[in-house]
Structures are given as structure tokens and as C-alpha cells.
């Protein structure tokens, strides 16, 4: 059999690339550099498709590439500077969000395309949106020295958009479940 090591390598790199692709598609940034991007969709998909461990690896790989200077954060940003920007809380939230989404997806039901899609929505809402926003708020308070209330209100603006991304994630998961019936979500393929 193709060794699980090679498969793991390829899939981890694939989803790191997906997050990068979403960052390379032109998108808008608001004040403080808080992104309105599709990148969080990439994080959600990584979690749902790969499960906790591999999704975490994928996002860590993405951050490593970013640290090396590649302009993969939406808006063409890259380099070590993005880790000290006020919005870096959200960035650190990426791997944590992927882990959370993956953990949820690993335990939620995925036996039919419909169930998988619903689970994907739940997993990405809690793991993707909630987790990343919590990290982002912490970052804003710590780095941009906003008060907790200011940061919370600031972040809530993006939640509706992020929930739409959760729906998109569910749709993609649904299609993959139908197009690749052998694909096992939430990292079950890698156990």
C-alpha cells in the first residue's frame, strides 16, 4: 500500500496550499488589518477533511511558509511582521481552529453525505468561527491594547460572514462525500 507517511505528507501539504490559495485571491482588509478573507474557510475545510492531527500540521506548515516570508496571508502579506501585527491573534487561531474543527468532526456522525454536511457545519462553526474569534479577541486585547468590550464588538461584525463560510464548508463536504464516497472525514482515514 502507499505508505500512510507519503499520503499524510501529500494531504497536509495540499490543505496548507488551499489556505494559501484563499489568501492569494484578492480580498478586502478592514482597519487593524482584520481580514475579511476566505482563509478561514480553508482552515475549516482542513479540519473537516483531515481531522485534528493532520489539519493542525497543515496549518502549522502554512504558518511556517508565512514566517519564511511567502506572501500568503490575504492581501499579499507575509514574513515575520504578520506575527506581531494586531490581527495576529486570528492568525494564531488558524492552527487552533483547525485542531478544534478536526476534533469535532472526528466524533460527529459522517455516515451519509447529509450527516457529514451537518456535522461539518457544526464543527466549523464551533471549531472554526468560535475558536478563531476567541484567539483573535485575545490578540486584539493583548497587542492592540483594546478593551475586552471593544474587541468583542469589533469581532462580532465578522461573525455573519464567517457563518456563511461554514455553510460553504458544509456544501463542499457534501459534494466530496458524494463524489468520493470512500473519503473518510475527520481524520478517520488516517487512524
Amino acid at each position: 500500500m502507499t505508505s500512510s507517511r507519503s499520503s499524510g505528507l501529500a494531504y497536509v501539504s495540499l490543505f496548507a496550499a488551499l489556505v494559501a490559495v484563499f489568501g492569494l485571491i484578492p480580498k478586502i482588509d478592514l482597519p487593524l488589518g482584520v481580514p475579511i478573507t476566505l482563509q478561514t474557510l480553508g482552515v475549516m475545510l482542513a479540519g473537516c477533511m483531515l481531522g485534528p492531527k493532520k489539519a493542525l500540521q497543515a496549518l502549522l506548515l502554512f504558518l511556517a511558509a508565512l514566517a519564511l516570508g511567502l506572501p500568503l496571508l490575504s492581501g499579499g502579506r507575509g514574513g515575520l511582521g504578520v506575527f506581531v501585527a494586531p490581527a495576529s491573534g486570528y492568525l494564531i487561531g488558524f492552527p487552533i481552529g483547525a485542531l478544534a474543527t478536526g476534533l469535532l468532526m472526528a466524533y460527529l456522525p459522517v455516515s451519509s453525505p447529509r450527516r457529514a454536511a451537518v456535522s461539518a457545519f457544526v464543527a466549523s462553526a464551533v471549531g472554526g468561527v468560535l475558536t478563531i474569534h476567541i484567539c483573535g479577541v485575545i490578540g486584539l486585547v493583548a497587542l492592540a491594547k483594546l478593551s475586552w468590550t471593544q474587541a468583542l464588538w469589533g469581532t462580532l461584525v465578522f461573525v455573519p460572514g464567517d457563518l456563511i463560510k461554514c455553510v460553504l464548508c458544509a456544501i463542499v463536504v457534501h459534494s466530496v462525500a458524494r463524489g468520493l464516497p470512500d473519503w473518510r472525514f475527520g481524520g478517520r482515514a488516517f487512524r
Binding site: 502507499t2 501539504s13 496550499a17 494559501a20 506581531v84 501585527a85 494586531p86
Partner: protein
Amino acid sequence: MGSFYSDHRTWLHAVSASLKLILLAIFGTALFVFDNTVVLLACTALCLLFFASLGRATLPARKLLTMVVAAGLLITAFHAYMQQPLLGLVSALRLLSASLLGIALMLTTRANDLLDVLESWLSPLNRFGIRSNALALQLALMLRFTEHFFIQWKRLDDAHRVRTGKSGGFKLLAPLTIRMLTSAQRVADALDLRLPP
């Protein structure tokens, strides 16, 4: 890899990649230790001088730098509005300094050299079963897949256009994902035959 490497040789090109990385790490951390506005202003001025000394080599990064400056100005304006102007200034200065240093590194160091340094730093981890040369492989794979996403997206979009007269947009995301997943499996197969066990 490394779209920001500048071919105009500067004094910084000759400095070894590992030294540059270490210094960047030290200065980057120092930026966060100091809260004093005056100190940070001085740091930023130093960084600007340092950056300017690279001369023509900074050309590829002009656009990036503009975005960083814009972000800094927005931060300052936002904090001024919130009546915390000094805080805003401190944040903006940190962002600017760190970015200048990071960009200077990118402009003067080959991606390959950076990877070699990272691999040798990570090599002690080989004892714990973590492979240090896997990093270069994973990064290369990631970039390859990134390129391929766009190629495949274009192909699917062209096919869609030919049949419906319109661009596919987000409807193509699901078929694209499926394609890339099958492609990843083929890549894994080819890789499996060449890697050590």
C-alpha cells in the same frame, strides 16, 4: 520560491542566512520588550536606515511596504479615535519595524538557504523521530499544490465558460477540491516510491 529575492547584491546578501535569522529573532523579540515610545521611535528610525541602506534592492517590496505603512496609519488613526494615541503609535511602530526587518531578510536571502538553515537547526530533533528534511519537502509540495490549484481552477472555469457562457465562481470549489484530492493521492504514490522507508 521566494518571490521577493532581489538580484541586486547588497551588503546584506553576503551575510549568512543563519546569522540573519538569529538577529531577526533577537531584534523582533526586543521590539516587544520595550514599551517606551521614544525607544521604539529610535528603533524604527534605525530599521528605516537599515532598510534604506539596501538601496535598489528594495524595489520588489515597495508594494508590500506601502501596505504595511497603510496598516500602521490605520492603527494609529483608530487608536487616536479611541483616545489612546500613544498606544496606537507604539503598535504601529512595532509593526513597521518588524516588517522592515522581515522584508530585508526576504530580499537578501535565497529561500533555499533559509531552508538549509532551518533544516540544520531542526536536525537535533531527528533523535526524537522528527525528520528535519521533511520541511523542505512539505514546503515544496505546498507550493506545487498552490500553483496547481490555480491551473485546475482555470481549466474548470474554461470548461464551464465554454458550456454556459459564464464564469464558474464558487460553484467550482467543490469539483476543484475533489480533483485536487485525487491528484494528491497520485502525488503521494509517486512520492512513496522515491522516499526512504
